[in-house]
Symmetry: C2
Subunit: 310 residues, 2 copies
C-alpha cells in the first residue's frame, strides 16, 4: 500500500510517498509552510504538493503536526507553531480537497509510531520514544496502543519534573526533562558557564550550538563533558521513571541532540542500568533512532497504518 | 454475578464474596497467611476458606498478590512477602482444587481495578491509582487498559525518582516517591528531625506513626506541618509527571496515609494545580479512595471483571 506522510512544521512541510510494506520513501518534496497566509491556504498548498508528488496513486494521508490534536476528528486544537489555528479542522479540510482519508496526530506521537512501524521499534508493543530537539517530545506505545490520554494530550514526557530544584523550564516549572536535555537547554548551560570556562572549545565559533558542545566532548573539553554529564544524568533519571512506569522493551531517542551518538548513548546506558531496580535490569534497550532525516515523513505515514490496524 | 476476591497479604488473607453488579461484599472472612507452612499449604488453606465462605456459589476467583506476577499464567514470579515463592503457580494450584477460574494480579494493579469497577474511577478509562502504605504502590489504567508493560512489572510509580538529591529509598536509589510519601518515609522524617523538635506532638506517644504526624498537623504542630508539606510537594511533583504522561481523568489515592484526608488532599490539589501545564488544568481530579478497608477484596474481585471483559 502507498501512503502519503506529511511532516508539518512551522517553517517547512515535508511530504513523502511511502511504500508501507518496506518503509521506503518512493518520492518526496518540501514546501514552505507560510503560516502567515492562514490555515486554508496552507491546506491548499499541501494538497497541491501531494497531488504534484503522487497524483492520486496513494491510499490515505497521515499528518504529524505540532500541538494539541483532537485525533478522532483530525482537528488541531492549538499549536505554538500555528498561533491562529484554534480548533482548526486540518484533517477534514485536506480530506475534502483530496477526497482521501486523512489522519492527524501529534508529531511526537507520530515519531513513536514511525519507530514502531519502520524504525528501532519494529515488532515491539512497548516503546518509549523521545525526540531531543528545540524541545523534548515524547511518544508512548504501551501494549501496542498509543497512549494519549483522556483528552489526547498525554505523552508530554519532556515536562516530567526530574529535579524540583533544577533550572526553569519554558513551561514555567523547574527541572523538567526539557530544561536539561533539549538543544535549547544545552546551549543555555553552555552560556551560563561561559564566564568560568571562557576558553572552552564550545565557544570557538560565534554561534553556540548543541552540536558544538558534543564536538567538544570528543576533544575532552572540560565544560563540554560537564554539560554532557548533566544531560546524561537528567535523561537517565527520567528514563528510569519511564522504565519503572511502563516496563518498555525499547526506549528510542531521536531528534537533533541524538546525533551525538555514542558519546551520549554509552554513558546514558550505563547510568540507566545503575538506576533501574533489579527486576527491570536487562528488560529494555536504549537505542538511537535510525530514521534520522526521514523520521518525520515515516512517522506521519505510520499514523495511517496504526489507525487502520485498529 | 458472584465473585470471590482474595486479598493476599504477608500476614493475613482477606476473602470476600462480591456481588459484581453492586460491589457489595455479601460475606467475608479472614485467615492467617502462615507463609512459613509453604506455598502448597497456603493455597490449601485459602481454598478451604473460600469453600467455607461461599460453597461453590460463585463464578470465579481474583487474587491480588504482592510481588511480580505473570498474569497470563497466574504465577507469582517473586514477592518480598513470600521469600520461597519463585515462579509459584498460585492461580493454577488454587484453580485445580476449586475447579473454578482463578485470576492473579499484582495487588497495586488490583487496587486500580477496584477503583475502576467499584470506587472513585467508575466509568473512567484513564486512572492513576496510588496506595500510600508501608511502601508506595501504583496502578495505571490508560485507555481502559491496565498498563503492566512487556514483562508485566510496570506501574512501579513508587519508584519514579522525583528528586535525585532526595533521601535514600529502600530500592537503593535516591529520591523515589516512596522515600517521601510512604508511611515508612513519614516516620523516618519525624525521627530524623526529632532532635530539632523534641517537643513536637508527634512524639507524645512512644510509637511514632504516620497517623501521629497527621494528628499533629491538625494541632498546627510545626514539625508535623513541615513533614506534611514535604509529602505534599513530593506527591504533587510525581502526580504532575503522571498527568503530563497519561492525561488521566482521575488520580485516586488510597492506603493508610490517605486516611489523613483533607489536610493531605487539599494542599496536594492546590500544588498540583500550580505545577501542571496550562493545557492540563481542569482535565483531572485528585480523589481519596472511597473503598477504605474493602479496597483489597474489591480490587481482587475486579481482576475477574477486567479479564473477562476482554
Amino acid at each position: 500500500m502507498k501512503i502519503i506522510g506529511v511532516d508539518l512544521g512551522g517553517t517547512f512541510v515535508k511530504i513523502g510517498l511511502v511504500d508501507s510494506s518496506t518503509g521506503e520513501i518512493l518520492k518526496k518534496s518540501e514546501i514552505e509552510t507560510k503560516v502567515e497566509l492562514g490555515g486554508d491556504v496552507v491546506v491548499k498548498r499541501i494538497a497541491e504538493a501531494i497531488s504534484n508528488l503522487a497524483g492520486d496513486q496513494y491510499e490515505a494521508v497521515g499528518i504529524g503536526s505540532p500541538g494539541s490534536i483532537d485525533k478522532n476528528n483530525g482537528i488541531v486544537r492549538f499549536s505554538p507553531n500555528f498561533p491562529d489555528w484554534n480548533n482548526f479542522p486540518l484533517g477534514p479540510k485536506l480530506s475534502k480537497i483530496l477526497n482521501k482519508k486523512v489522519y492527524v496526530e501529534n508529531d511526537a506521537n507520530s515519531f513513536a509510531l514511525g519507530e514502531k512501524w519502520f524504525g528501532a521499534g519494529r515488532g515491539k508493543e512497548h516503546i518509549i520514544a523521545l525526540t531531543l530537539g528545540t524541545g523534548v517530545g515524547g511518544g508512548i506505545i504501551s501494549h501496542d496502543f498509543l497512549v494519549t490520554g483522556s483528552n489526547g494530550i498525554g505523552g508530554e514526557l519532556g515536562h516530567v519534573i526530574i529535579n524540583p530544584q533544577g533550572p526553569l523550564c519554558g513551561c514555567g516549572n523547574y527541572g523538567c526533562l526539557e530544561a536539561y536535555a533539549s538543544a535549547t537547554a544545552i546551549v543555555r548551560m553552555a552560556k551560563e558557564r561561559r564566564k568560568k570556562f571562557p576558553n572552552s572549545l564550545i565557544f570557538k565559533n560565534e554561534e553556540i550550538t548543541a552540536k558544538a558542545v558534543f564536538d567538544a566532548v570528543k576533544q575532552n573539553d572540560r565544560l563540554a563533558l560537564m554539560i554532557r554529564n548533566d544531560v546524561v544524568e537528567a535523561l537517565a533519571v527520567a528514563i528510569t521513571g519511564f522504565i519503572h512506569t511502563f516496563n518498555p522493551e525499547v526506549i528510542i531517542i531521536g531528534g537533533g541532540v541524538s546525533k551525538a551518538g555514542d558519546i551520549l548513548f554509552e554513558p546514558l546506558k550505563r547510568r540507566a542500568n545503575e538506576l533501574v531496580m533489579p527486576s527491570f535490569k536487562n528488560t529494555y534497550e536504549i537505542l538511537q533512532s535510525p530514521l534520522v532525516e526521514n523520521a518525520g515523513i515515516l512517522g506521519a505515514a505510520s499514523i495511517v497504518l496504526q489507525r487502520e490496524k485498529l
